[in-house]
């Protein structure tokens, strides 16, 4: 198994722990991951509102580079994952968009073929690597650590390529295989507000508070996320959303929990980048770590 890897901009900034833990987990599973050569920003939702056609061309450059490489493309950030997939759909469904994108690729002498399979790490871990291989790697089981699995919007909507749109369970199954206990979390695909916390603060905070409240109410000890923006929103504004300091959960990437169970040292999985330390919870649950 070999995958091209498209980190996206956030995994080089606020989401560094995601990249660190993701790569550590894939190394432990002996799955080869090679960063896509000279990748550019996918455009995310922001460029799409500024200029839709240009954003398809930006995504197509990455897709063309990856198709040339021949391996499936792994995109861990939800926004990147969606934009790359969406570009393929729109280029296919609207021939005139296809023409514009083809012409743009011609000007930089890249092949017009952008058909590479864009995959999310959840999909790869569950369907290619498999639960058995993951269970076999668990050396430090999570001892019933109560996890609220938070998927957010854009990996299951609108396309639902590998999981159920309304009740995704891929992360639940991966973390259960590591010994975690998944708590009832009815808001698992609700919106975190995206960049609203920066642009319309009161509304952004409301959405974040709702997600934290549900996790707290269902006695989660940590929240597991799959997206750098979801993770950032929940973690950065946890204090602000608490009226009585009730929210004090580590907000982690699901890959960090896998890394923990695989016995990868905390520092190699980006745990030092958390605002709320995981160590008190680990001590309470008697979870061994390196």
């Amino acid at each position: 198994m070999k995958y091209a890897y498209y980190p996206g901009c956030s995994l080089r900034g606020t989401g560094r722990a995601y990249e660190e833990s993701l790569l550590a987990v894939f190394r432990a599973l002996e799955v080869e991951v090679v960063e896509l050569e000279d990748w550019n920003c996918c455009g995310a939702t922001t460029y799409m509102s500024y200029d839709e056609l240009q954003s398809y061309a930006l995504a197509a450059r990455n897709l063309s580079l990856a198709t040339k490489g021949g391996n499936d493309l792994m995109a861990p950030c939800s926004a990147c994952y969606l934009v790359l997939n969406k570009t393929q759909y729109y280029v296919r469904d609207y021939p005139w968009i296809g023409q514009i994108v083809d012409h743009a690729l011609d000007t930089i002498r890249l092949p017009r073929d952008i058909s590479v399979k864009v995959r999310h790490p959840l999909d790869i871990l569950l369907n290619d690597v498999g639960l058995d291989a993951i269970k076999a790697k668990v050396t430090h089981p999570l001892n019933g650590l109560k996890v609220a699995p938070y998927y957010g919007c854009q990996i299951v909507r609108p396309y639902a390529l590998f999981d159920n749109q309304r009740n995704p369970t891929s992360m639940d199954r991966l973390l259960e295989a590591c010994g975690a206990k998944i708590v009832y979390y009815p808001v698992k695909t609700h919106c975190c507000g995206g960049s609203q916390k920066g642009t319309l603060p009161e509304i952004g905070l409301d959405l974040i508070k709702h997600l934290l409240t549900e996790a707290h109410r269902n006695e989660a000890e940590v929240i597991a996320t799959v997206c750098p923006l979801c993770q950032f929103n929940l973690e950065a504004f946890e204090d602000e959303a608490s009226n009585a300091h009730q929210f004090h959960m580590p907000i982690l990437y699901f890959t960090q929990l896998l890394a923990l169970a695989f016995g990868i040292p905390l520092k190699e999985a980006g745990f030092q980048r958390s605002f709320v330390s995981i160590k008190p919870v680990l001590a309470e649950k008697e979870i061994a770590y390196v």
């Binding site: 901009c9 922001t46 799409m48 500024y50 960049s195």
Partner: protein
Amino acid sequence: MELKRVVKFEAERDPAFAQWISHTVGGERIRHCLQCGLCSGSCPLSLYMDYTPRRLMHLSREGFKEEVLSSYTIWLCTCCYACMVECPKQINITHLMYALKTRAIQEHFYPKRFAIPELARDFSRMIRGSGRITESRLVLRVFLKTAIWRLVGFSSLGWKLFRTGRMRFAREKVQRQNEIVTILNAVEDTRKEMAR
């Protein structure tokens, strides 16, 4: 007290706008909208909107251009795609929101210092310039332009990010920046040609 008529006369609507929306990518089926309201019901932000997505769909297809482009609805949309998944007529509502935002930015239908369109503009400039986004630089730039006073409130968050190595100011850049500029220009050229 100022008395104002809030209902428009037929002749005051903009049929060209209605035409445009039904020919926009994703809007092909807007005439099939049943006004069932599943979009508004599934929208996590409809509680805060001046027009809910259902109403906005109707206003758009009837040509109420000003109401639609100056509504807060289009800026509140976070593109979570809940409406699109629920729509029984497969109208690509999320995509129409993108199209409406683009149009509102082009025609300056938003309040001064409004952060969302400013973010979109700066985001696109940063990509043209470096091919990648350096988050800290982008956020700082948008705040300086729109809400400089809020930076004070963010100082403790900034410190936490800095301390954990998550606030980086070194510019992220692609190696072949010329390729980015070339494809963006190529799209512009084709668009102009098609318009002709």
